[in-house]
């Protein structure tokens, strides 16, 4: 109650930059606004109506003045645009070595899946000083994943994967908010991101799981019988998916496409949209049969296919090296009472 902050915690690599630009804008616009206010009041008092100035004195406006206050603001505004766009590109440029975390938004909770297989609801554990990439989609309406302490936010859409990233710089517990209105409990679609130092994070990761996300995906690959067509044998009905991810691929209609998350998603849900060159459009659609969670697991598996290391990110390897200390990071307190769904359940079934 007595807490009266004017800034959220600066807890990511871009936070100081956003705050810097914000404060710069506050300074520039504050000075200009203040000047306008002072001038208005000065004129209003100095030239107030008196018997000797019932009618104002007319004077010709100097053209140079008009040009000045057209061009100077324009230059300043373009400067603001450049600074903002530079920062925007920085916020959007994905670093190469990020930890891959998958997020699903649904009315009204956030689900996070770690590459090592842990699943969490409304809580996200991340290590400090490591870029974290979040690949996300919604199961129903549009949501928006906002980490105020990291100064990043992105709408979560129901029809495609989007990505965002951040690099937390300060251990602690920060807010997660849904920023796009999504229905009744929109204001309850909140959670916590817990930034941990490397050791604590590894300990948390060791808290058990049902196998890595990719290995879960591999099981689904068999369950949905994807492996009957997508084999490496010649004459297979479907293209071999090994080494596919990130490559440019030729399509039957002569165009080409980069095999990214959304291409793989589309190829599962709407296989007729883009047919790989040399194959017949025989694959049935899996729209409505594969859940968002399963899609993420399949995607995680397809990404690892044909890659030497069976795991997507290097962070998972020390799993066995660290002793399991039993309890994972304690559930976040504080706002936990206010949100009954907020439970930290690494490696737990929903």
């Amino acid at each position: 109650m007595n807490d009266f902050p004017l800034f959220p915690e600066q807890a990511s690599s871009v936070s100081p930059l956003v705050d810097g630009l914000y404060l710069g804008l506050v300074a520039i616009t504050g000075v200009v606004s203040l000047l306008i206010w002072i001038v208005i009041f000065y004129f209003a008092i100095k030239y107030r109506r008196r018997p000797d100035n019932e009618l104002a004195q007319e004077q010709e406006p100097p053209a140079i003045l008009e040009m000045t206050w057209t061009i100077v603001p324009l230059v300043i505004f373009i400067g603001i645009f450049i600074a903002g766009a530079w920062l925007f590109f920085r916020i959007n440029a994905l670093p190469a070595n990020a930890i891959e975390i998958y997020a699903t938004g649904r009315q009204w909770m956030w689900k996070f899946q770690h590459p090592t297989g842990q699943r969490e609801i409304n809580t996200l554990h991340v290590p400090v000083n490591r870029p974290v990439k979040i690949t996300m989609a919604s199961e129903d309406v549009i949501h928006s994943l906002w980490f105020p302490a990291f100064r990043v936010k992105a709408d979560v859409l129901p029809n495609r994967f989007r990505t965002m990233w951040f690099e937390a710089t300060k251990p602690g517990k920060y807010h997660i908010f849904c920023a796009e209105y999504c229905g009744t409990l929109h204001s309850g679609m909140i959670g916590s991101v817990i930034v941990m130092d490397a050791v604590a994070y590894q300990r948390w990761l060791a808290g058990g799981s049902e196998g890595s996300l990719a290995s879960q995906g591999e099981k689904l690959f068999e369950k949905y019988a994807c492996n009957t067509c997508h084999t490496s044998t010649s004459g297979a009905r479907g293209p071999n998916l090994a080494g596919l991810y990130g490559k440019t691929r030729q399509l039957a209609d002569g165009s080409s496409v980069v095999a990214d998350e959304n291409y793989i998603r589309e190829s599962i849900l709407n296989p007729q949209a883009k047919i790989a060159a040399g194959f017949a459009p025989v694959m049935p659609t899996f729209q409505g049969q594969v859940s968002e969670d399963d899609l993420i697991r399949l995607l995680a598996y397809v990404r690892t296919m044909g890659v030497e290391q069976p795991v997507a990110t290097p962070v998972e390897s020390p799993q066995s090296a660290i002793e399991s200390t039993g309890a994972p990071a304690a559930p976040a307190d504080g706002r936990a009472e206010a949100q009954p769904t907020s439970t930290t359940t690494p490696g737990n079934q929903e």
Binding site: L6, F43, N53, P73, A83, F88
Partner: protein, 553 residues
């Protein structure tokens, strides 16, 4: 307080003629409901928009009460969601968009042009009826359970998930859109074809220029909203997938089409405000507006550039980063003409004869608040900062500074400025000044804390919030109480003045303009004889000379 006139002689009432005016020309309810007189239609609009303003204000106040505590303990989440949705819909579609054009534009524009009426009087009445049909649908929605989609009706929530009265609400907004289209069409044709002899484009008051720009925006933007709402209704009724991803649609396309209208709609709301401010600045400084042509053409520039920036509402919505760059750049451009206006209004006060009467107080408030609203728009237009503050209370504060601090301040200024012309009575000056001060203080106390709480991280449309946001929210609610008092006061004393106000002369402010050359209230045909304009806009000496000559004829 004296209402100073420069020289009473030119403005003496031609008393025998003045007795008959548009108010006492005919009597009876039907003479109002079937009137084709633009002035009476303006009064009809005045009553209807005031009712909706009160309704929308009540919704706002209930929201502020809920936000006194972080827990969300006054209403259920669903009720709160309906409150902010209805607040937005009522205020935008049924108050802000029609307020200044349909009330002051309808009343003053033809008089400013020296015309007997708008070009299409029947269409004008029809547009009021269409507005009332849309408004009635809105009221039906409110009574029968409300709607909870937010005023933006984002898909797929609005089409597939919300189980409230979405269809009826969008139908109401769709119908009301045609009302503003007809008003805009009427204004455009009237400005082009109905000007008095001698009234060239550069002699037009800046009010007319701004209304022209507003009408262009209305004509070209509103139909896109109409078709978007049609598609939304089709989707909701048939349960097909125009914007629903589960059925093959793209929800981001809805946002493109919606904001193609709804961003220019911001200019539909603020340009008329600028129109009123230009008139009031000239009248209460007794001076030509500094840089007349710059102010006039900046209105047209806003009307055009305003169409090129809509996707700045969608920087984090999943549009391409390259498109975001283009839209951010164009957003910076549209800020320039607004800045030009602010600088010119300020410069007009230099060596002027500034009167501190109520409309001028509102004008000074407008310039100050609009400046803050404008510069915070730069924060939102700057991509890197927008990623953080988008959909936070920072945005809420920003657009309230424009809409309430801008448009409603201008609306209040205009109502006070033209009140003697509309009713023939003066409002009580001291009460007017008190209300202007209350509105200014209350407004800043309400909305300035919202900038701060938004940057700290409070998302908009939140029914319950984190405890650290509470101090700023309490301040905001306290401000809302003062603001409410500031708005209630004029409703009381303006009503009082109808009976007890001092009688107003032809030109109580000593202002320049054709509306101040006819009696207060004006006769049914606006002028006893068609005026001939021989003076430039706001040219005091020439206007006074012309008035003296007509009196001596």
């Amino acid at each position: 307080m004296t209402s100073t006139t420069i020289d009473d002689a030119p403005f003496i009432e031609p008393s025998t003629r003045a007795r008959r005016n548009y108010l006492n020309d005919e009597y009876g309810v039907l003479s109002w409901l079937l009137t084709k007189d633009h002035k009476r239609i303006a009064i009809l609009y005045l009553f209807s928009v005031t009712i909706f303003f009160v309704v929308g204000g009540i919704f706002a106040f209930l929201m502020r009460l809920e936000l006194l505590t972080p827990e969300g303990d006054m209403f259920t989440s669903d009720t709160y969601n309906k409150l902010f949705t209805l607040h937005g819909i009522v205020m935008i579609f049924f108050f802000l968009i029609p307020a200044i054009p349909a009330v002051m534009g309808n009343f003053i524009l033809p008089i400013m042009l020296g015309a007997k009426d708008l070009a299409f009087p029947k269409l004008n009445l029809l547009s009021w009826y269409i507005y009332m049909i849309g408004g009635t649908l809105g009221v039906i929605v409110i009574i029968t359970g409300g709607v909870d989609t937010g005023w933006t009706f984002y898909t797929p929530f609005s089409t597939q998930y919300s189980n409230t009265k979405v269809f009826l609400t969008t139908l109401g907004a769709f119908i009301t859109g045609f009302s503003s289209i007809l008003t805009g069409l009427n204004f455009l044709v009237t400005i082009h074809r109905m000007r008095a002899p001698g009234l060239t484009w550069y002699r037009l008051p800046l009010f007319v220029w701004s209304m022209y720009a507003t009408s262009v925006v209305i004509m070209l933007a509103t139909p896109v909203l109409a078709i978007t709402l049609v598609l939304l209704m089709v989707e909701r009724v048939l349960q097909v997938g125009i914007f629903d991803p589960a059925l093959g649609g793209d929800p981001v396309l809805y946002q493109h089409m919606f904001w193609f209208y709804s961003h220019p709609a911001v200019y539909i709301m603020i340009l008329p405000g600028m129109a009123v401010i230009s008139e009031c600045v000239a009248a209460f400084t007794r001076k030509k507006i500094f840089g007349y042509k710059f102010v006039a053409f900046s209105s047209l520039a806003i009307a055009f550039l305003g169409f090129l920036v809509w996707a700045h509402h969608m920087f984090v919505a999943g549009i391409s980063v390259y498109a975001a760059m283009i839209f951010s750049f164009l957003t910076m451009l549209v800020a320039v003409p607004s800045a030009i206006k602010v600088f010119n209004w300020t410069a007009t006060m230099y060596k002027a004869s500034v009167s501190w009467q109520t409309p001028m107080l509102y004008v000074m408030g407008f310039i100050g608040l609009f400046t803050i609203g404008g510069v915070t728009g730069l924060f939102l237009g700057a991509l890197g900062v927008d990623v953080h503050v988008h959909d936070s209370y920072f945005v809420v504060a920003h657009f309230h500074y424009i809409m309430v601090g801008g448009t409603i301040m201008a609306y209040m200024a205009g109502i006070h400025y033209w009140w003697p012309k509309i009713t023939g009575r003066m409002y009580p000056e001291w009460w007017g000044r008190l209300s202007a001060m209350l509105v200014f203080v209350g407004f800043n106390l309400t909305f300035f804390p919202q900038f701060l709480v938004g940057y700290v991280g409070m998302p908009r449309r939140y029914h319950a919030y984190a405890p650290e946001f509470q101090v700023l929210n309490v301040l905001s609610t306290a401000g809302a109480t003062v603001l409410a008092a500031g708005y209630l006061l004029p409703m009381i004393y303006l009503f009082w003045s109808l009976k007890f106000g001092r009688k107003a002369g032809t030109n109580p402010w000593g202002a320049v303009g054709l509306e101040w050359a006819t009696t207060s209230p004006p006769p049914k045909e606006n002028f006893h004889e068609t005026p001939v304009v021989t003076w430039d806009a706001y040219d005091y000496p020439a206007f006074l000379k012309a008035m003296r000559e007509t009196q001596h004829v």
